[in-house]
Symmetry: C2
Subunit: 204 residues, 2 copies
Amino acid sequence: MTTSTRHLILILLRVQPMTGYELAQNTKISVDPLWSATHSQIYTALQKLEEEGLVARETAKRGERMEKYVYSLTPAGRDAFRVWLREPIKPLPNRDPFRLWAAHIDECPPEVVFRNIDEYIQRHVELAERLDRAALTFIRGEHPLIQARMGRMSDEALERLKRTRAMIYREAAAKARFEAESGRRIRAFAQELYPDYEPNEYDD
Amino acid sequence: MTTSTRHLILILLRVQPMTGYELAQNTKISVDPLWSATHSQIYTALQKLEEEGLVARETAKRGERMEKYVYSLTPAGRDAFRVWLREPIKPLPNRDPFRLWAAHIDECPPEVVFRNIDEYIQRHVELAERLDRAALTFIRGEHPLIQARMGRMSDEALERLKRTRAMIYREAAAKARFEAESGRRIRAFAQELYPDYEPNEYDD
């Protein structure tokens, strides 16, 4: 099956019941570098999962005044996670907007060439740092999705979970660093293509 | 603007007018590792581009019996390519089905763990080889999209184009090799998680 925002929700609700807002927050602070989803994608997927009986909705008090919908996995939802985990992984279609663009830098004004490449490098340097920090919070047990599980799993199972998550976030960081390095090689090539261009000529 | 199959079509029709079938074939043999698109995605995008006046359709004889639609860029289509080339690149949402899955291998039966990881490694080893071969056909001028342009560009411009395309395909190959190496590291970690599992126990 194609992995989708549905699976993101199954993954998060396995940890504990959450409101739609908490699902979106946990996606943003935690899973986003592996699978980003907008609020609207999360709400649409939640509604479908509820219709299919994989997710149950309850009204609960949160805070003083507010009543909110809290979502939890049904037994069918837990099964759906187990099925997904055991399936072959269907790859996404190849989509590389940066390299599709960069294949044409021989025809592109150099100020655009260096602006786009530098933005790409910078974005991936920042992403790598963010992923390395996330890996640390997993291994140290400081991550909220780890803390929510403390006392509900054996120490050994929790230790395996921490090590596995940290390893994957480090690999995702390595991927972001690869992208930054690839961007730097493409930049060096662009300097050969446009030897007379001086990116900082208007900077002083 | 978000890069889409529309831009793939603008890129290909800049080389020469093509039928829908030729667009799909050229995507498959050439651009696919950077931007894959199904026949139906290509036809849907072609229709929209025609409605917007970026692409013109002509009926032309191809072969003995067949009349076919041949698509070409209008001046507005050439402008749209130029605009796309000069824009900032909008990144795709982060979507990494392999690592989202692999973040849970501590709970996955080991036969599934090793099957999925090995498939991932193998797929990226093959992709890297395919991209290295494509880079060679660009640099040697053997690529059909290079040959279609011979005599229609200055030698110098054609040389820059060949070098740029080859460089990008080599970078895409490096990315595929990174993915294979990352898969091998994840596999080594999985062997620590499941030290007693013998993947080949039923193979002899």
